[in-house]
Amino acid sequence: MSDPSPATVAHTVDSVENAAATPDVEQPYEALGVKPDEYARIRDLLGRRPTSSELAMYSVMWSEHCSYKSSKIHLKQFGEKAPDVDFLLVGPGENAGVVDVGGDLAVTFKIESHNHPSYVEPYQGAATGVGGIVRDILTMGARPIAVMDPLRFGPADAPDTHRVLPGVVRGIGGYGNSLGLPNIGGEVVFDACYAGNPLVNALAVGVMRKSEIKLAQAHGPGNKVVLFGARTGGDGIGGASVLASATFDEDKPAKRPSVQVGDPFMEKVLIECCLEIFAEDLVVGIQDLGAAGLSCATTELAAAGTGGMDVQLDLAPLRDATLVPEEILMSESQERMMAVVTPANVARFFELCEKWDVTATVIGTVTETGRLRMTWHGATIVDVDPKTLAHQGPVYERPYHRPSWQDALQAATPDTLSRPKTGDELRETVLKLAAGPNLADKSWVVQQYDHRVRGNTVLAHGEDSGMLRLDESTGLGVALATDGNGRYTKLDPYSGAQLALAEAYRNVAATGARPLAVTDCLNFGSPEDPAVMWQFAEATRGLADACQILGTPVTGGNVSFYNQTGEAAIHPTPIVGVLGVIDDVTRRTRSAFTGEGDILLLLGDTRDEFGGSEWAHQVHGHLGGLPPKVDLERERLLAEVLIAGSRDGMLSAAHDLSDGGLIQAVVESALRGDMGVRIVLPGDLDPFVALFSESAGRAVVALPRSEELRFTDMCRFRGLPVARIGVVDGGAVEVQGQFSIPLGELREAHTGTFPALFG
């Protein structure tokens, strides 16, 4: 496999010279998704037509995915409304945000989507999704320490779901397990709106010393640009072939794979190799190669640094010798990184790569020319100002307006739906919800994930948040939860996004950790549809406002548009991840009821709120009305109480209330602790509402009688409504005067669903 010799290639590539000399050559920009006005803009930025390589770079860098051209003006709010906090070390704009968690430790975390690839090839799509987000975390200088996977699928019984879900789950497990990263949480939610548009979001978290934070910058003229990791293949560059064939009209290049295949083993050694390189402080700057591969890495590094870079593209190690420059620039081959290294450190850098069997090649040099120049066997094929690629992409103010159907949707309240009245009807409903695919036990999924590796997993699946020990000596740890209810957001995008944050925030607090910062993945339909754009505008506004009130800044995230089939968009689905800190992980609170005789307390207010509820969805297939009311001050108060109760050792269990309401939370905690409960509902509330309402800002806690007074006094003193609703006792979930369900029967209903569907 030898590179074509300069002689044969030089005349076939579209050089800058050639571009200047042939201004009128037709270029297939539209086939690359570049709009006519964008193409015109490229031409006057360059003062000539772009070479086909330059056009390739602009087309990927100015794509929705890389330039955020439709979302930018809305994402701005996350910065403008950011609460001013002292713990934010790196905010949005870098590969991932970084927060100060105390001591000399910093934590970086980010969520990203790999939705469409996972629909096309579930295993590889999901696997490479995990690989990509983990590289973002690594790029910040951190050791990746865990992953999470919020997932959305079409109906649980749909044939295509049985193609997609098992592959996605195996892919997330197959890649994450092979990296030695514990999976500490996620979501599996089914809804018809995700048929054909499954959501595969992946969150990764990493830890580093504050002094070790790395940035994507190419500083220092004369410093070397090193490409290392996997060789470059023709992965994910369907688009580029237009250019290739345009340049090589004689012999068209070989077929290019549209599917990227991940190599977790390569990524694992890349991680260990990078961490040793970081430990010896051998890099000036570093960038992962994700979407837009080499185009993105070179331009972002150059644009953020001294400003110039010379790259000899023909030095890039290839997996497929037939690749042409345009394709190499667009390739999305996985498991590749780019570093900027001082000449003095290059030798040691290469020693460490050799130690880990990682291929590394110097392909360029940092310059102060302010230009990104690339040559291919001597011919200059790229000569651009990198800032025009990285930062001066198009910005759209897409038209948006509240869809005509929104009023009708909100008017169609669930009030008219028939509600269970008798004890038997309530009993039936409890079992039906507990067995429904959305609320059913997810062991079939999470057993395919290693949640123990690294030995610091304090809490994982089945708890309100995943919790990791960071420091074995002090017990310092972090907790993470992700949430996002598409039904709520469809009913009201502004409050739906806030409810997503509120729930993740509540989940983190329920385990005893103090919520600190946010990452978000905004999954929406087509931004070209004004109704979708309105959902997006409302959701971002709602999230930004809520983050400001709760004091939890957005540190980074990702936008996924075009999740739709034809005219039908998915429910707007912002997935919000909240990171919390806990000073001593041994103080954590679990969700299981374990103390015979413990008192059960319900915290917060319960209203008649069923819009977008799991009950309306699962029992009546109904979606309409308004989502539960948002009260962020109440969420903050509830969190303070839960954290104090956990820290002072008052609580033996805590569980947040969300989908399915109080009774679902009680069922989960009872099954987890294998202990029954006797519930006596507050007299003033209708039993159905008390059991199934999804009012926000609530949690159920269990505590020893000896702690009851101290705890309830604290609640009353702080003004948090608290009601005693029963005791932990016996072998059944009993609601006095209504029904009783033996744990065995509940467990069968709750755990049988997934094996029956996918086993």
């Binding site: 590889q124 023709g234 794979p257 295949v261 991940g262 190599d263 997996r319 996985q334």
Partner: protein
């Protein structure tokens, strides 16, 4: 009773981490002169009937549907000599 063999290999343009791992190991074991290794699957399917055209067509359908992931793999069906 007839035996039909189905060979399933990754398409040539698709990355093959398995084959690469083997290829990288060979020199360390003292085997040189190997320029490429691809690893795939081999299925031996025993039919209760004869391996006539109809049967082969059915096996091809099996390969298409189940044995191979045609998004990234290609397959070859043949009667074992």
């Amino acid at each position: 009773m007839a035996r039909v063999v189905v060979d399933v290999m990754l398409k040539p343009e698709i990355l093959d981490p398995q084959g690469q791992a083997v290829q990288r190991a060979l020199p360390r074991l003292g085997f040189d002169g190997v320029v490429d290794v691809r690893q795939g699957k081999r299925f031996e399917v025993e039919l209760d009937g004869p391996a006539d055209e109809a049967a082969l067509a059915r096996v091809r359908e099996m390969a298409e549907k189940l044995l191979a992931n045609t998004v990234i793999e290609e397959f070859d069906v043949r009667v074992e000599a």
